[in-house]
């Protein structure tokens, strides 16, 4: 049997009382409401006066996508174009290029010749960052992107690296690969 005084039941039956006379005059509730709004009035405002005051952006924020260099200053992107193909609104346009034979990082073989992200198309989905095998493209903390023409809204390679900077990275994947390749070459001799 369900009942309020049976403690083994996990059901609490709330008594439905009719409104008291005081409640039917609305006045107690109005007074309580006035108290609530008064408390709000003496509380400091929550408005942020942008752009005079800027919000603090958390580090894992998904802002404008950027390209980053590794701690040695080498550009990490190998222009595999995965990001270009995964990008849902087709905001990325990459012109692949090769690295010259005698460059210091010649073993990486490829790097983008030009890399453009059209911020009028980008929807900040972060798929490019997720798909990149080189961790070369990152959505960082820049939240405001403005320009006075369509051209200004397209970030080219130079600008992307300028925005991205260097990200700490302890993998040094390509250095390891190079060392391994050298070791193997030594072994064959």
């Amino acid at each position: 049997m369900l009942s309020a005084d049976n403690p083994t039941m996990a059901i609490k039956i709330v008594e439905r009382r009719p409104l008291s006379l005081a409640e039917r005059t609305y006045l107690p509730q109005i007074l309580a409401g006035l108290k609530v709004t008064w408390d709000n009035m003496v509380r400091p405002p929550v408005t942020l006066q942008y752009p005079d005051e800027r919000p603090t952006i958390p580090q894992n924020y998904r802002g404008v996508p950027t390209l980053v260099r590794d701690p040695n200053g080498r550009e990490k992107c190998v222009s595999c174009q995965l990001c270009e193909f995964v990008c849902p609104p087709k905001a990325i346009r990459i012109t692949p290029g090769s690295i010259t034979e005698n460059a210091e990082n010649a073993h990486v073989e490829k790097a983008p010749q030009e890399f453009e992200i059209n911020m009028l198309r980008c929807i900040y989905c972060g798929l490019c960052q997720e798909v990149c095998p080189e961790e070369a493209i990152w959505l960082q903390t820049q939240y405001s992107m403005t320009g006075t023409s369509r051209d200004q809204m397209v970030n080219n390679k130079a600008r992307l690296y300028e925005l991205g900077g260097t990200l700490p990275d302890s993998h040094h994947k390509w250095d390891k690969k190079k060392a391994e390749a050298e070791k193997q070459a030594d072994g064959h001799h």
Binding site: T25, I30, N40, M41, V46, Q49
Partner: protein, 371 residues
């Protein structure tokens, strides 16, 4: 000429320049209090909602004053001027489907009663050469509270005519609601203040309907202590009569777009706006005069000091109370939602009116028993 004589002349002299000066003062007082009530409305609503409110408007000349300039800007004190100028310089459209004459007349009819009533409002007293005089804008016309009620209720004609002249459905509904509401609450209001007149009508009082007599009878306890029920009914009724939340039936922007002023723009809308605040000022003033001791500073403490100082203090007390009331109107507006139309009617006819009648009967019985 001493300050006292000058004040005396300004307050009482029938000379045309003093009369004109007083007339100008009415307009300046009403307009500036109304303008700053709008600012108060915007600021207080912002505070209640955790916002900051108007804090950008400034004039280069004022911004140039160090310190004060920024302070005035942050407080939004220049905003009312900007708002008023905006209304003044906006294109003033005359929609094709309206009844033109009444459409133009309506905002004037809404504002005029507020201005007229204000001329009769006493807000202080001073003594000159041993005689007591009342500070009011139209001296010598102590016509009393009946005139106030009669004229200030005319304001609803502005709403009714405006809503009808606009010739479309939302204004029409707003106007109908406005008139119905006025009729329902005027009755309770009148009955509630009768108890105050009963208390004032002592045998040696020859004009018990005069507001001055009512204020003078409150040198001890204020009427709100003797007539709490009447005060409450009157307070609710002035909310309804001024069409303020929770009784803003004629306007109710969520279901009637803007109600009676839907088809109005620019300065005509501005006039309706000022009229609403004008009626708030008058309603609050009547409440202060009848229940809150008028220009008496505190209960049992009618005057502080003497002479000009005391009378100026009295006027200041009146305006402090008025400021509190205007704030209270705003505070209530941003606290509670609007009543439904049928609730408004039910409260008016089935609650306030019977309570007002019972309250009156109770006072009748009390005075009869006391002899």
């Amino acid at each position: 000429m001493t300050l006292e004589t000058l004040l005396h002349d300004f307050a009482l002299s029938p000379a045309w320049y003093f009369t004109a000066g007083r007339g100008l003062l009415v307009i300046i007082i009403l307009m500036s209090i109304a303008a700053y009530s709008v600012l108060l409305e915007r600021k207080a609503s912002a505070w209640i909602q955790g916002r900051i409110g108007p804090n950008r408007t400034n004039h280069p000349l004022i911004a140039w004053i160090p310190g004060i300039g920024t302070l005035l800007m942050k407080g939004g004190f220049i905003q009312p001027a900007a708002d008023g100028l905006k209304f003044l310089f906006k294109e003033d459209p005359l929609p094709g489907h309206v009844r033109k004459v009444y459409y133009i007349l309506a905002p004037i009819i809404a504002l005029a009663p507020a201005l007229v009533t204000l001329t009769m409002l006493p807000f202080g007293e001073f003594s000159y050469e041993g005689q007591k005089h009342i500070i009011t804008l139209c001296p010598g016309a102590d016509v009393g509270v009946l005139f106030m009620f009669a004229i200030s209720s005319l304001g609803v004609y502005g709403i009714a005519i405006g809503g009808w002249a606009a010739n479309s459905k939302f204004p029409f509904l707003g106007a109908v609601r406005g008139s119905a509401q006025l009729i329902s609450y005027e009755l309770a209001m009148g009955l509630s203040v009768l108890t105050v007149f009963l208390a004032t009508a002592t045998p040696n009082e020859n004009n018990p309907l005069s507001l001055v007599a009512i204020v003078n009878s409150q040198t001890g306890a204020w009427n709100i202590l003797y007539h709490p029920v009447a005060a409450l009914i009157f307070l609710i009724a002035i909310f309804a009569e001024t069409n303020r939340h929770p009784f803003d039936m004629p306007e109710s922007e969520t279901d009637l777009v803007g109600g009676f002023h839907t088809e109005y723009g620019a300065f005509k809308f501005g006039l309706f706006f000022v009229a609403e605040y004008g009626h708030m000022i008058i309603g609050s003033s009547l409440f202060i005069l009848m229940f809150l001791g008028g220009w008496h500073v505190l209960p049992w403490l009618p005057t502080v000091g003497s002479g000009t100082v005391a009378s100026l203090l009295g006027v200041a007390a009146f305006f402090v109370k008025l400021a509190f009331f205007l704030f209270f109107f705003v505070w209530v507006r941003w606290t509670i939602p609007r009543f439904r139309y049928d609730q408004v009617m039910r409260i008016g006819w089935r609650v306030l009116l019977p309570v007002a009648i019972l309250n009156l009967l109770a006072y009748f019985a009390w005075y009869a028993l006391r002899g």
